[in-house]
């Protein structure tokens, strides 16, 4: 057992210079080979309320996925995201790659990610939001006026598809200048396939407006 731990210790854990809490804190007892194992184990099991049931990290085996480690700790997320040479986005998102291409923002790590982000970042800078705000506002008012009209006609309206079209139209207009008046939501590949099976995160909201 001791050899096993030593073996693991000799493997790379995190790049040098990581002194933050989170991952590092969870392994500092590994300096004491045998005792450290139990201390680590005990710490990861008792820290936080989540750990009472599952721990901050636990293994899961979905039917459709291979075995994976699920991490539920905020501080650990930060360490993982910072060390993206060890925790890569590349190859991790099969679906994303198929739909958006391997050059998608989600697929890049390290320097490549930094370069790609820096090219898009000026378009997302808060300094430029006021350029777009009037368009957002006008579209919001247009959407709610349309909802009002529909409620007056039918008595109630399902807001979920309206929000989908509303947000898509604003984003399309801000990003390309195209004013979207027809329903373009079906041409997005992801959207049309998602529409067939309702997601647990996607509420279907039907409202009646009171004048």
């Amino acid at each position: 057992m001791q050899r096993n731990i030593t073996h693991l210790r000799s493997k790379r854990f995190l790049p040098d210079g990581v002194t933050d809490k989170g991952l590092h804190r969870a392994t500092r007892h590994r300096n004491f080979p045998i005792l450290g194992f139990f201390v680590d184990n005990w710490m990861s099991r008792t820290a936080g309320v989540l750990a009472a049931k599952y721990g901050k990290a636990y293994r899961t085996n979905f039917v459709t996925y291979s075995s994976r480690l699920v991490v539920t700790d905020k501080d650990t997320f930060r360490e993982i995201e910072r060390n993206d040479d060890l925790f890569g986005s590349t190859d991790a998102h099969e679906v994303v790659e198929a739909v958006f291409g391997e050059s998608s923002m989600l697929m890049a790590d390290g320097r490549e990610n930094a370069v790609r982000r820096s090219k898009v970042a000026p378009a997302f800078s808060p300094n430029v939001y006021p350029f777009f705000f009037d368009k957002i506002n006008a579209r919001v008012i247009k959407t709610w006026t349309a909802v009002e009209g529909e409620v007056n006609d039918k008595g109630s309206v399902l807001l979920d598809p309206i929000f989908r079209r509303h947000h898509l139209s604003i984003i399309v207009e801000m990003k390309t200048g195209i004013v979207m008046d027809s329903d373009m939501s079906d041409i997005l590949v992801l959207r049309s396939s998602q529409a067939e099976k309702p997601s647990t995160h996607r509420p279907s909201v039907r409202f009646t407006m009171l004048q």
């Binding site: 790379r12 991952l23 969870a26 936080g48 291979s66 905020k74 997320f77 506002n137 947000h167």
Partner: protein, 270 residues
Amino acid sequence: MKARAELISILKDVIKRNIRQNKHLIEKLCEYGDNLSFKGSRDIKKGEVNMLLIAIAESDIDLAQDPEACPDDLRLLAELILFLWTAGSSTSAPTTASAAFEMGLDSSRWSRLAEEQDTLVCAAGSVEVTYEQAQSEMPLLDSFINEILRMHPAAPGVVRRVTDDVRILGSHVQNGEIVYLDYTAAMRNSSVYPDPDTLKIDRFLRSEGERPAPGVIAFGPLVSPHRCLGEGLAKILMRTTLAVLLRKYTMRLDPGQTRKYAVVPDDSPR
């Protein structure tokens, strides 16, 4: 995939048209570079610029040449726009829907949020939402949206592939294995967010003497090279949409509505 190829081709045409029609504006944007701002760039008018023009200015596309001469840059930009369209709308739309739903579910939430908007309307003397209001003058609505993001994040987590053997919180993960960062579970951690399964619209409100809850992770960890770029924009969009609703209308949730959707996936700890 065929639809995707068609869309990419349409987007390439949109980019080319934008370059053709707005060459001078893009050149101006190139000059400003990172210094572009609404206050500092007076020669650029409101509504004249869109995000694509800024992205073209920042891209490697050479304006002096025919865009067809650099097909790779053109394709990359078209793919980027497709990604941003989907990433932007497929996350903010369900969050707005969740927010509207939770507002309709409890009239006290509705009245508190409407009260904040009424105060703003009275102070400004106009029912129009202004940029300044949407940006920073609606703390309660902002806290409510954060709470919705905490309880019903549109992106419940991300995956990473490990590139070397590693130990994470006591578990050994082999090179090539997948690690799932479960945002939903982390944002229901009672040691970070007390009483995590209860929706508290003022959870993220800053009040004197009390520490507000730490921010949400729905957009990724706070200092992460992968944090969502569109966070600020998405929040302005959601705040404006909900503010107009609260200012102009009163709503009632359809009696047939249930809150069945609001479940944490079974594989996540509560």
